[in-house]
Amino acid sequence: MDIIESKTWIEWAITIAKFAFCFVPVLYILLLIPMERRGAGFMQDRQGPNRSYIKIPYFGKLRAFGYVQNMCDGTKLFFKEMFAPAGVNKLLYYVAPAIPFAIVFLSPCVIPWFGPMIFDWGGETVSIAGSIIDSDVGVLLLFGFSSISAYGAMLAGWASKSKYSFLGALRTSSMTISYEVCLGLSLMGILLLAGSFNLTDIVQWQENHVWGIVAQPVAFFCFLIASIAETGRAPFDVAEGEPELVAGYHTEYGAMQFGLFYMGEYSHICINSFLIATLFLGGYAVPFVTTETLQENMGVSLAVLCGVLAFIALAFLHMIYRYSRKLKKTNLTHRFEVLKEYKLYKIVAWVATVAFIALGIAAWFFYNPENFVVNGLAVGSLATAVGTALIHLLVLVAKSLIFCWVWIWVRWTLPRFRYDHVMHLGWKIILNIALINLVVTAVIAKLLGGN
């Protein structure tokens, strides 16, 4: 087959391995749900759900900071009976939750997870794009997917044959339509500056010039507000107000069907925070360092990366030691159990710290892959390319985690809007600001002699 022989095996291996990124939103759900519940607890000055545990020998009850609770909830949802109320439209009732969740696996395809990998393989220069689909129309594809995923809520509301669900679905879909306009328009400024729909090009423009948040601060806030509204969480949760609409479009759902909506919401947050990080915070680009510098000093960069990870492990240790000291002074009955559990975390964190420091020192002294230039492109070995991709990926994840926290922060601090206020904000304020921003950007770009 021609199509198989057109690439070397290493290209095929990396291209197929890239499909693993489709599962990133699902992994983020696992991360986000405990983060949200403990975060809510933190803001309301309580503990949050952290009492479930797994019993292990010697260390006692392992609670893993609320992550075990997450596993319990997931198991409960999985094994609950799927139940359809009488009178629902059976086909659409069962299909509807699958739509937003199926889109979850498609959306990560266009996000560039690392810079283009260019390396030398057996005398040939191999180039692999950082996104699964390296298309000219990247961002548009993402918007197309997100507009289709709104059908899930709409069909769910209609198929449930319940007034609450129906009103919730109408509200959700009208809000999605209106805020998608704001989302697209506020995005246009940065597209204009970068001169491309391709997300990799946009990130490269930001790497060579300035980050989007500096070039387009107004558009950044419009985009942030519009994308928070699009996920339909508080303060924009008009679709599921408890006093008026019970739970909105998924009132009649239970078990894993409800779970699919729930997971769809969280993975929407994940995708949107990756999108904001890519468009406005320089995506995979490392702050203040270009990719070329990174590749020339590969060993040092890996050492710095290990140093940062070791620092995080040390910060975790500091937290654990502070908790233990506080706990020892109290006379809670379960304090010895908790201290025994903390012993495990201390061991793990100390091992991680030592391992990271050792790895960093080893990388600094012994890892210096050679780089050469072919046709003006910096071409390194496979090891350099993989190291760069790893650093890029971790930087992107760190940036997106910041925005995930913004979502939780906003949800638990701001009071919710009334429905007409949401529409007023969308159509009369954000849309106009985004339009003016676009015009101003276009004029300035033209005056400064852009394309």
């Binding site: 197309g144 709409m154 069909l155 339509i177």
Partner: protein, 180 residues
Amino acid sequence: MLALIYFIVLAVIAVGSAVCVLLSRHPLYGALSLVVSMVSLAGIYGLLGSPFLGVVQIMVYAGAIMMLLTFVIMVLNGARDSHTPMFDKVSLFVIPAVIVLAGLVGFALVRSPIAFDAATIRGSVAITSKTLFDVAQTGPGYFVLFEVLGVLLLSAMGAAVLLAKKRLGSVDSEKTEDKH
């Protein structure tokens, strides 16, 4: 070969769901089949080397316009489980007209020399924007046309709003409101 397989799959879905639009007796099912048809059409556009057109098809037609359409069907009580009859007197004229039109289009397509080549790019973002807006290449023709179309759509929207408002405040609508 691979492109041909994709094309056959997408074409079967597109034509099948288009037939479903005609045959479904419930307006919401009709709208949903239209969405499926449009999405698979977008796939065919992508296969023909114009991904930009395909994505715009998904975004504008499947995403925005059909969403509004389903919204209207739901709000205007079309979503009640009342089934409309599949055939009535108008069908006597419509069905022969559709068959004749399909025959004509099929005849024209079979006779015309269209070469299918999936490798060439016909409608990427750069090519589309150059064709539309590059004044040096194509003259101001498309550029002016594009702007005029924009103004036309805007005026149509204004007219629709005005008409709707007039209906709301008119004597007829107030009378019907009183009856309820």
